[in-house]
Amino acid sequence: MAEPERRAMLERYSANVRTNHWIVALLFVLAALSGLALFHPALYWLSALFGGGPWTRILHPFVGVLMTIAFVLLAAAVFKDNLMEPRDWLWLRRFGDVLRNREDELPEVGRYNAGQKLIFFVFVVTLVGLLLSGIVIWRQYFSGLFPLGAVRFASLAHAFFAFVLVIAIIVHVYAAIWVKGSLQAMIRGRVSAGWAFKHHRAWFRERLSHAASSRARPD
C-alpha cells in the first residue's frame, strides 16, 4: 500500500492555459445566459442577472467578442495537439466502448482523444460563425451596413451556431464530470500518472521518454 506516496504527477495544463480557459468559460456562461434571455421568452427572466433587458442587449455582444478573443489565444495554444490522426478515427468507431467506460481495448490516445478534438473544432467553427453573424445583427453599430436579407439570415445563423455551441459545451462539461481527474487537471494543472496512463497513454509514453532522455530523476 505504498503506492499513493509513490504516485507521480504530470503537468497537463500550464497556469497560463488554465487562466485562459477559465476566462473563456466565465465569458461563455455570461454570453450564454444573456443570449438565452433573448432567444426564448421562457428564459427572459435571465435578463435580470444583467440589469434588465436593455443592459442584456448592450452587454451580450461585448461579452461575445471578448470570449472570442480569449478563445483565439487558448485555441492557438492547443491547436497542434487537436489535429485528427489516423488512430483517432478508429477510436471514434469504437465510441460505444468509450461510453461504456471500456477503454482497455481502444487505440492509444495522445494528448487529446478524438472526442475532445471534434469538440474543439466545433468550438472553432461555431465561434467564427457566432462572431460573423453577431456583427451583422449588432444593431447599434453594424446592422445598418447590411441589407435586411443579410440581417435576417444572420439572425437565424446566430441562433443555430449558438445552439450547436451550447450542446458542445454541455458535452464538454459532462465529460469533465464523467472522467474523474479532468476537472482537477484544469484547476490545479496536474494529473496522476495513472490517469495519463489510462486515458492518454500515447501522451504518457511521450512524456516518459522525454523525461528519460532528458535524464530527469524518477518521481
Binding site: 432567444f39 421568452p41 442587449r57 444593431r139 437565424l156 454541455i170 459532462y174 523525461a211 528519460a212
Partner: protein, 303 residues
C-alpha cells in the same frame, strides 16, 4: 395603456394569453389611403408630428420632394413620390403615404424578444410600448415593410401608432383628420373595404383597369389599406412590396427553432445525467496507477 391594456390580443415574447376581456367589443379598424386622391400636401406629416409631439431634425434639401428623405424615429409617416411612365408613355406621379401597415400578422411582434414591447389590440392596431423596448432592433429584422426605426438618443424603436390613443377614445388618427382631399379615411375595416371597392370601381370606369385594393394576404391583411391605380404594380409606388410576407428566415428563427433549441439543450443535459446514473464515472483504479508506476520504473531504469 389604461383601457387598451384589457383588449390585447397579441403580446411580444409572451407565451400565455394577454389580457383581452374587452376583446368582444372591438371591431377591427382600418385607415384607407387612396393614392388616387392624394395631392402630396404633407398635411398628414404635419398633423402626425403635431399630435404626437414629434420634432424631427431639420434636414437639407437634396432636390427631391420627399422630406425627410426616409422614415426616422421621429417621422412616423412620410409621403413618397415616384415618377411613373405608363405603357402609353404618359407620366404619372405616384404619391404614397408610407408608414406602419399594422399587419394582422405582424413580423415585428413575432421577432421581438422583449415581453410586452409590442402589442396588438383587438381593433388590429400594432403598438410599441417603448418602456419595455430593449433596443435590439429585431422588429426591423421582422418587418416586411421596413418601417421601425431605432432612436440614436434612447435606443428605442418607434413607428406609427395609428394614433392608438385617439382611436381608443373614438377619434380618427391625426393624419386622417388633417387630410384636405379625403384621400385618408378611417373606420371599421369592413366599412373601409366597402368604400375602397367603390373607389376601385370608379377608377376602373375612368380607365385605370388595374385599380385595386392593397390588403396583402401574406401578412394576414393589414389595418392600413391602399387604393392603388395600378394594383398590379405595387412596386412602382416607391417600392411597396407586391406580395409582402414575414421572411421565411424570420419564421424559422422565431418559430420552430425556439422550442426545438430549448428542448435540445435540456435533452443533452438530461442525457448526461442519465449516463452518469446508468454507466457512472470513469475513474482511475489503483491498478492503473501501479501499471503507470511500473512503466515509469522501466523507462527510467533502462533510460
Amino acid at each position: 395603456m389604461a383601457l387598451e391594456s384589457q383588449d390585447i390580443v397579441r403580446r411580444s415574447a409572451t407565451t400565455t394569453p394577454p389580457p383581452q376581456v374587452r376583446h368582444a367589443g372591438a371591431a377591427p379598424v382600418a385607415k384607407l389611403i387612396d393614392t388616387s386622391k392624394c395631392i402630396g400636401c404633407k398635411a398628414c406629416q404635419v398633423a402626425c408630428m403635431e399630435w404626437n409631439d414629434l420634432r424631427d431634425e431639420v434636414g437639407t434639401c437634396t432636390g427631391v420632394y420627399e422630406n425627410p428623405l426616409d422614415l426616422t424615429p421621429s417621422s412616423w409617416t412620410l409621403m413618397r413620390f415616384a415618377e411613373h411612365e405608363t405603357e402609353a408613355g404618359d407620366l404619372e406621379w405616384l404619391i404614397r403615404k408610407d408608414g406602419c401597415m399594422h399587419c394582422a400578422d405582424p413580423g415585428c411582434l413575432k421577432a421581438c424578444p422583449a415581453p410586452g414591447a409590442i402589442v396588438q389590440y383587438a381593433n388590429g392596431i400594432v403598438d410599441f410600448d417603448s418602456e419595455h423596448c430593449i433596443g435590439c432592433g429585431y422588429c426591423i429584422t421582422g418587418c416586411p415593410f421596413n418601417i421601425p426605426r431605432i432612436s440614436e438618443v434612447d435606443r428605442k424603436a418607434y413607428k406609427c401608432t395609428l394614433c392608438s390613443d385617439r382611436v381608443a377614445v373614438g377619434r380618427e388618427p391625426a393624419c386622417v383628420k388633417a387630410c384636405p382631399t379625403g384621400a385618408l379615411v378611417f373606420g371599421t375595416k369592413d366599412d373601409m373595404l366597402e368604400h375602397a371597392a367603390e373607389r376601385v370601381e370608379d377608377l376602373q370606369s375612368r380607365g385605370f383597369e388595374n385599380a385595386g385594393v392593397y390588403d396583402p394576404e401574406g401578412v394576414g391583411g393589414t389595418h392600413v389599406l391602399y387604393v392603388l391605380h395600378h394594383a398590379d404594380r405595387a412596386e412602382a409606388y416607391s417600392g411597396l412590396p407586391q406580395n409582402p410576407r414575414i421572411s421565411p428566415m424570420v419564421e424559422l428563427w422565431k418559430g420552430i427553432t425556439k422550442p426545438l433549441g430549448l428542448a435540445g439543450m435540456l435533452v443533452a443535459a438530461f442525457a448526461g445525467f442519465l449516463h452518469y446514473l446508468r454507466v457512472g464515472p470513469n475513474e482511475v483504479s489503483d491498478e492503473d496507477e501501479r501499471a503507470a508506476a511500473r512503466a515509469i520504473d522501466e523507462e527510467m531504469g533502462n533510460g
